[in-house]
């Protein structure tokens, strides 16, 4: 698509062509202020023009012949710069490829008491680590369906995070005083906490998320703990349950791509009878297992917590040990704290 096919005013089109901007590629490297200066238009108008140009022809991609399409090369470059949220455990981050990805849906499942809620709270705090300290500086949405979120524990984890960032000891106290924004209370205040008590509330909230996030663009993580609880009751019509889950999954899958944030879903385990024995599998069935990009299973291995990548399009199956301490999720201190490739 060229300039003359852009849906902008004829006078503006004329101005662009006469000055030499014939193809969209030429608009790719120009900034709005420069455009405004060149054409003596208001900066807001310049921004509009560039927006229209990018929407209509993927500015920077002269090969795009389908509107909205991207080349794989562009996607690769984008992925290199894709942000990740650290889990505060180096080994866990490593098997995830650096942390929880901000463009994908990650599912974390495990038996009760293994630490799913702890990881959720840790991620809700870690997403807020300021950009200056290597984090994303975003906010988090925490959807609590089970009532496991305890404010005092979140405060404890937030305080430990602040301490780790700012350091301890008297020498750092003045530094801390000069960083009033980075306090545990502020970290808590930037977690949008929703408590849902039934499956209808859960679906309504997921549907509402898009509107909420477009009003709160700083949100970089959506954590649902857990996505399963309200769906394990008896549904009169199981096909209804499958439809509801499928639609909820679709809505949740659209969020990362649209808003560039991470979606982390917690799942429970159930026993499945196969080959004459009971096996533990993640709940919600086989159709749900297609809904998440990445799947992590947490389990106990000789008194250690182990995280295992069950499904991932780009990381190989591997497991890592982690520990839950008073500060939150941290690396395990055991002697055989290695990453095992499966």
């Amino acid at each position: 698509m060229e300039i003359d096919t852009l849906p902008i005013s004829a006078s503006m089109r004329g101005k662009l062509i006469s000055t030499g901007y014939i193809s969209l590629a030429s608009l790719s490297s120009i900034s709005p202020s420069q455009l405004a200066q060149d054409f003596r238009v208001r900066e807001s108008e310049a921004v509009e023009i560039l927006k229209v140009a990018s929407v209509n022809g993927r500015v920077g991609n002269s090969d795009g012949f389908v509107a909205g399409a991207q080349t794989a090369w562009d996607m690769l470059r984008e992925e290199e710069f894709a942000s990740r949220i650290t889990t505060s455990c180096k080994e866990f981050d490593h098997i995830l490829g650096g942390g929880i990805s901000c463009k994908e849906v990650t599912e974390i499942g495990g038996v009760p008491g293994i630490g799913k809620t702890q990881i959720g709270i840790q991620l809700a705090v870690n997403v807020q680590i300021p950009v200056d300290y290597g984090g994303l500086g975003g906010k988090a949405i925490y959807i609590d369906t089970e009532g496991s979120f305890m404010v005092e524990r979140a405060l404890q984890i937030a305080e430990a995070c602040v301490e780790d960032l700012l350091g301890k000891g008297t020498a750092w106290k003045e530094f801390r005083a000069s960083q009033p924004k980075l306090s545990a209370k502020n970290l808590l205040g930037d977690i949008f906490y929703f408590r849902v008590c039934s499956y209808t509330e859960q679906i309504a909230l997921v549907n509402y998320l898009e509107k909420f996030i477009s009003e709160h663009k700083e949100v970089k993580a959506v954590i649902v703990d857990s996505v399963t609880f309200h769906f394990r009751q008896d549904f009169q019509d199981m096909t209804l349950r499958t439809r509801l889950l499928g639609n909820m999954a679709l809505k949740l899958m659209q969020l990362p791509k649209k808003f560039n944030l991470a979606v982390v879903l917690k799942n429970q385990v159930t026993t499945k009878y196969s080959d004459g024995s009971f096996r533990l599998t993640l709940a919600l069935g086989d159709s749900w297992s297609h809904s998440c990009t990445n799947r992590v299973i947490l389990y106990w291995e000789s008194n250690e917590r182990c995280a295992y990548i069950d499904k991932s399009p780009c990381h190989q199956s591997a497991s890592a040990l982690s520990a839950v301490t008073s500060k939150g999720i941290r690396s395990s201190t055991s002697n055989c704290s290695r990453i095992k490739l499966m």
Binding site: V111, P112, G113, T117, I141, E146, G147, S148, F149, M150, V151, E152, R153, A154, K185, L188, G189, I191, F192, Y193, F194, R195, C197, S198, Y199, T200, E201, I203, A204, L205, N207, Y208, K211, F212, T228, F229, H230, R232, Q233, D234, F235, Q236, D237, L240, R243, L244, N247, Q268, V269, T270, T271, L280, I297, Y299, W300, E301, S302, N303, Y308, S326
Partner: protein, 334 residues
């Protein structure tokens, strides 16, 4: 084969109706308490720094320390133990400490005790109530105050009866009969409701587990809405399988649970474990005091009871010894 009625499952909202409800709610203003599927105030995030977690003390500072203050509100705490370990004693104690004013760690509230097994231990409750009243004589102004007046007792025998009771409870929670609202619900024990009606095949187990989630869902909804603390007791079963690995059934901080020298596991399986927020385990062991052992004659035994935290979102792993005395449950410093 015993006949049992399967409770009414959730009425199925047709799919388009559900979508419509969402749209209406998203646009709605301050909601009223009518039968809208979602209250619009739920679409507002809660202000976390203002949320103060309330806890109900157990009446003993040593036990409270293990639990970081006591039993939390808006949450379901499960106490797992074999018979005779002291779970009912802990529950009776909570029924009384819940009446304490908030500065002393109580909830200033009345309590509901739902029992499923043996007849209600009324005599023991009266004994505890008397010593409770004398320990806190400065708190309870009038001498005619009877702590038992704020304890409501109800018996249920099946899971359906329990669910029906919970449905009727909504009106009691909204309009409390006394000036102290109900803030503590104790169910003693949940296992008894499920162990006889369900066979050990996959169909019945699935039906049983959906009942778990239905009951737990209702309890959690009421706990959240009314700020209740819910305590549920559970029994144990003997176990021989391994608890290791990705298929292992280990749940919680302790690799194996031992009580009375046997390896045990909480009843009702991993599905029920998903329904509770915190799980505490009371173990009971007979200790033989070495210096009194004489061959062929009596041996002096002492019962050692310990309260372990198996999992809780706000508690580290911990164990605490306690004794059951005439005046109640008392923690023992190691």
């Amino acid at each position: 084969m015993p006949l049992f009625t399967v409770s009414k499952p959730i009425p199925s909202l047709s799919y388009t109706m559900l979508n419509m409800c969402t749209c209406i709610v998203a646009l709605a203003g301050p909601g009223d308490k009518s039968s809208k599927p979602v209250r619009s105030h739920q679409m507002q995030p809660q202000n976390l720094p203002l949320l103060s977690p309330q806890k109900c003390t157990l009446g003993c500072p040593i036990l409270d320390r293990s639990l970081a203050g006591g039993i939390p509100c808006k949450s379901i705490t499960e106490i797992v133990a074999e018979s005779g370990s002291g779970k009912t004693q802990l529950c009776l104690q909570l029924l009384l400490t819940a009446q304490l004013p908030t500065p002393l760690g109580g909830l200033s509230a009345s309590a509901l005790y739902i029992h499923t097994e043996f007849p209600f231990p009324l005599r023991r409750l009266r004994q505890l109530a008397n010593s409770f009243k004398s320990s806190y004589s400065n708190v309870f102004a009038s001498s005619s105050f009877d702590p038992c007046g704020l304890i409501f007792v109800h018996a249920v025998h099946t899971a359906d009866q329990l669910f029906d009771l919970l449905l009727k409870l909504d009106s009691v929670l909204e309009n409390p009969p006394t000036e102290s609202p109900v803030k503590l619900i104790v169910i003693d024990s949940i296992a008894a409701l499920f162990r006889s009606e369900f066979e050990n095949n996959s169909g019945d187990l699935k039906r049983r587990s959906s009942l778990f989630f239905k009951i737990a869902g209702k309890l959690k909804l009421q706990a959240e809405r009314f700020g209740l603390a819910v305590v549920i007791t559970n029994q144990v079963v003997d176990v021989v399988t391994s608890s290791e690995g990705i298929n292992g059934l280990r749940i919680g901080n302790l690799e194996n649970l031992y009580s009375s020298g046997r390896r045990v596991y909480p009843a009702l399986g991993p599905s029920w474990a998903h329904c509770v927020n915190s799980r505490l385990f009371v173990s009971r062991d007979e200790e033989i005091l070495a210096d009194h052992v004489r061959s062929g004659e009596y041996v002096c035994r002492q019962t050692r009871r310990q309260l372990h935290v198996l999992f809780a979102p706000h508690l580290p792993v911990s164990s605490c010894s306690f004794m059951i005395t005439r005046d109640g449950v008392v923690g023992v410093e190691r």
